[in-house]
Symmetry: C2
Subunit: 376 residues, 2 copies
């Protein structure tokens, strides 16, 4: 993996760059649609590429490990071939899902023991086997196995957890560096900064993570319930420590406004289920603000779904029709809204990149942040 | 509406023809995907046109009357504009759904009183207001309001019901012929033959229906639970009575084999929810037979979904992947299977037409009927 930093904004820390993987280039800043179980929910791969213009998608290791399981994925020749997606893929480590499970899970130095949400069977994730699993999935960018602390989290727990995440990172790197990719394309490992919302821990963690000198770095444990201001504060601190010449990935963020603010702080990569999950509930993100398409006010509004939208669904379908689909519980409504939201996210982040390169990012961002948060 | 009969098969009653409407041509025999509530379930309009290559779709008057309701549809400028589908549409009369309702419904000479499945409110469908409703929907081909008798049905009920359907037809025609289309394109009314599974009633009904001299004729009340042989027997009788120079539409039929056999009897038009409903349960119809994609046997079968398939999903996705989507309850599985099944139905009926024109329909049909019913 290569990263070329093309420009840093003069009035913020926003950056434009380019990541090169064996599956192609990613222009940063970038948003990665979430394809949990080898599917970006309700969206065809053809639509992800042609209509949404995604450059990289994300897969969830926990879900893929449970279904279709690793024997299927390895026989398929990895996730790219299994789902017929030939552009870059990033996988998380599975940790986040494991911590979110309602059933029993026990975190020990060795790793995490947990029960499957499907059949209750017991499994163990360790730094080592999570590297192996991500080798089997074959994503271009894979994530270290960490503990994502909840919010709020007391200082002592956050500190102990962070130190364990650092020890786990050492084990991840040792395993990763002593194994080879399975499918002929290279993979790279991103470590993850933790430290909850404590400034000293975040700085310490960022310094430790940077010292591993991997090809990119991630920021985890944010967007887990803390106020946005705290997220921004932590992100700013961490970005000031992480090396400038490597991509920075803020995990699980967020709203359009969150993304724009974090770009200004120096983040290059984002992922979030929000555009697809909210789409399935009838919420549309647009450049003019947020639409709840189920509202009565759209019942007889035959204007196009989003007059500023860039994907074909925005002009093909009208608001009244899409509202009707949601009222009638027609799945097509979710499909349309998902394409729209993802295309909007990709458009928005592409605009951010354009304005970084053109030198007027901050004024554009300040204006856009207000608009995208408006309720229409 | 115009119908040109191009050829009648020499060794069966199969026919190839062409229907011309203000929204374009329909080459017969034809299958019409069902778009119940202004949506062919899980399929984008773009896919219906480009991937499935449908030439006409069907809408359900009952569902559209309930949601989005007629005020929305008329303000939208009719169903074509509401859902952005510019090819022909056929609507049923709403009768079939009304009779299928679990709640109270009372059939009287005037019409049928029933309760909404959505809010329990009372409504009445009459031959007259069903014509008005279908004027408001604006389909190219609209259906007479009839009573679809259940199976089995005693002779007296079937006879009385058939006579009422004939009296209702007179009222439908009077209303239809004294009103104008609302959106600038012409509409045509198809009457419906009833008579349950009684030969004399079917012949009598076909003669009566033919005497109305509409531009096309339909056969209703079949595929409601009777054995396939009885359906074929009734269909053959009726096709022998209905005029040759007008299209014949067999409502709600059926499996691929049912369709091929009925083409041989002289039917030109079909509709059925089977390809989409079964798709949502993981059943794929192919030229080699029927696949239940959820079966364990496909778990590690990475061959393309259907090597003989004609839509892009057939080569784009593999069996193991689509099985995984169904196992994981990913909606994309339903989307892929729906496109596949509808494209298969349209391919199959297109092949039937080709073989009718080429003169070898019967041998092709006899061979194909066996193959499409095989369980793989």
């Amino acid at each position: 993996m290569k990263f070329n930093l093309e420009k840093i904004d003069s009035s913020s820390q926003a950056r434009a760059g380019k990541i090169t993987t064996d599956h192609g280039e990613i222009k940063t800043p970038i948003f990665m649609p979430v394809g949990t179980s080898a599917s970006v929910k309700t969206v065809h791969q053809r639509e992800i590429e042609e209509d949404i213009k995604a450059q990289i998608i994300l897969g969830n290791t926990y879900h893929l490990y449970m279904r279709p399981k690793m024997d299927v994925l390895t026989q398929a020749g990895g996730l790219h071939r299994f789902m017929n997606w030939d552009k870059p893929i990033l996988t998380d480590s599975g940790g986040f899902q494991v911590y979110s499970l309602n059933g029993t899970r026990r975190i020990k130095e060795e790793g995490v023991k947990f029960q499957s949400h499907i059949d209750g069977s017991y499994h163990m994730f360790t730094p080592e086997n999570v590297m192996d699993t991500q080798r089997q999935i074959g994503a271009d960018i894979i994530m270290a196995f960490d503990e994502c602390t909840p919010y709020p989290c007391d200082y002592k727990y956050a500190s102990n957890s962070m130190h364990m995440t650092h020890r786990w990172l050492k084990r991840c790197c040792e395993r990763f560096d002593s194994t080879e990719p399975l499918y002929g394309h290279s993979q790279t490992l991103f470590p993850i900064v933790q430290g909850s919302t404590y400034k000293d821990l975040r700085i310490q963690s960022a310094e430790t993570i940077a010292s591993f000198e991997r090809e990119g770095n991630a920021i985890g444990g944010l967007s887990v319930g803390e106020p946005a201001e705290e997220m921004y504060e932590m992100c700013e601190l961490v970005c000031n420590v992480l090396p400038k010449n490597k991509p920075r990935y803020l995990m699980g963020v967020g709203t359009p406004a969150n993304i724009l603010e974090n770009i200004a702080l120096g983040v290059d990569m984002f992922d979030c289920v929000m555009p697809t999950r909210n789409a399935r509930n009838g919420m549309l993100f647009t450049s003019e603000g947020i639409i709840n398409i189920k509202n009565k006010k759209w019942e007889k509004d035959f204007s196009q779904l989003d007059k500023n939208g860039t994907s074909y669904v925005d002009s093909y379908y009208n608001k009244s029709y899409v509202r009707h689909l949601f009222q009638s519980k027609e799945i097509l409504g979710m499909q349309i809204a998902s394409i729209h939201n993802l295309a909007f996210y990709l458009w928005l982040i592409g605009e951010a990149r354009k304005h970084i390169l053109e030198g007027d990012f901050t004024s554009w961002k300040n204006n856009m942040v207000k608009k995208v948060a408006t309720r229409l």
